[in-house]
Symmetry: C2
Subunit: 235 residues, 2 copies
């Protein structure tokens, strides 16, 4: 999905073995990181794959396989050093550096995102808020001021923003996305219910609230049907 595909070995750097980590594993690393942080806060020094897996909500075989893509950070017969592993995962994900993000579309959701504490605490700094509506430009949200659409370029280049968050209505999403990409953003988190077209080198991830509910509805319906069928077969 993300254009991880290519990467014809630029002459595999000897020791730095440039592992190719499966996408599914990458998606779980942040979960492991969170579990490790929780353990660390409870002053747990060492954890087995079983304990870690439970804390992260996966099974231990999967966790061990996932970690094996990063390197061999465990100790046989003992487990993993919580803080050491935590650092290694953070480094792998790229959280040992700070990332600047810009949020476009400061409606209800944009407000919530701008105030979301979970960003700052993980090294994501909101470098700018942008909205199309002149009535909103100038408004304060936390300690940031909403800028106009036309300031996107300045914000992105001044703060070295590489990640853009789109929280506009669907109708504006593609246009906003094009502008972000033109300004130099190369990763996009899209909350608008729209399919975005981007150049190959840009990564897009989508979060769609109503899709999640629809998936749940499907399963609810099946449960209900199953129950009804069961009742019928008993009658």
């Amino acid at each position: 999905m993300t254009s991880a595909a290519s990467r014809k070995g630029g002459r595999a750097r000897d020791e730095r073995l440039e592992r190719d980590i499966p996408e599914a594993t990458i998606a779980r690393l942040p979960v492991y990181l969170r579990a490790l942080t929780a353990l660390s806060e409870r002053d747990v020094v060492t954890a087995s794959s079983e304990e870690l897996a439970t804390a992260a909500g996966v099974n231990s075989a999967k966790l061990r396989k996932d970690l094996s893509y990063l390197g061999t950070y465990g100790t046989r017969g003992v487990g993993y050093d919580v803080n050491y592993l935590r650092y290694q995962i953070a480094r792998e994900i790229g959280l040992t550096q700070d990332w600047s993000v810009v949020i476009v579309g400061i409606g209800n959701l944009g407000h919530a995102l701008a105030n979301y504490a979970g960003f700052a605490s993980r090294g994501f700094q909101v470098a700018g808020l942008v909205d199309n509506d002149p009535a909103r430009v100038g408004e304060k949200v936390g300690d940031l001021t909403i800028s106009s659409f036309d300031d996107i370029d300045a914000i992105v280049s001044n703060a070295a923003v590489s990640i853009g968050v789109i929280a506009t209505p669907a109708s504006a999403a593609q246009d906003v996305c094009d502008r972000l990409v033109a300004a130099g953003v190369s990763s996009v988190l899209n909350f608008a219910p729209a399919v975005l077209t981007v150049p190959d080198y840009v990564d897009v991830r989508k979060v769609d609230l109503s899709i999640e509910l629809q998936i749940l509805a499907y399963h609810e319906q099946r449960k209900a049907n199953g129950a009804a069928e069961l009742r019928a077969s008993l009658a």
Copy 2:
């Protein structure tokens, strides 16, 4: 993941062939539905798998395979009738009926969710807003009033709520989840950065904003490293 597993044939109902649709397909049905709705609004009557796939952001083979799990709703040489297919997918997902949801935790995100138009338009009705903070109870959000924690049972049973949305801090999430389940909810959409433990019959889906950003950060880092490596190898 979702407990779709079991279902030992309750005596396969002859014609109603009770297809077992892959989870990955189910997750895309809402996307197809959205694309079809957009086409329908532009008065497009018929669409080929190629056109539909483009609108949905997938390839046509995948779209055809997905649709084949639902039944044979296309016409060879022609394509799909937009409105007919739209109805069939809506029915399959369970959107021909209404669903009641309750939202717990009315902070920034809870507010945004309570006001989110995309719910109502797809048959999801917000039957109640609940918050733990006495200062917030009684507050109006749209045309709903925030209720106290203790009203969860009444809300769930009065409105036949089957889906609960958790938008609380992580520390409260498991407790809230337990109460929702005790009240009769059997699907949960969890926005709190916490792993939830639920009985088998309950489905949980998770949306985690900071995880999405972390996945993007990983890919950003790789792009940056790749570029640096390339520069180095040229030097």
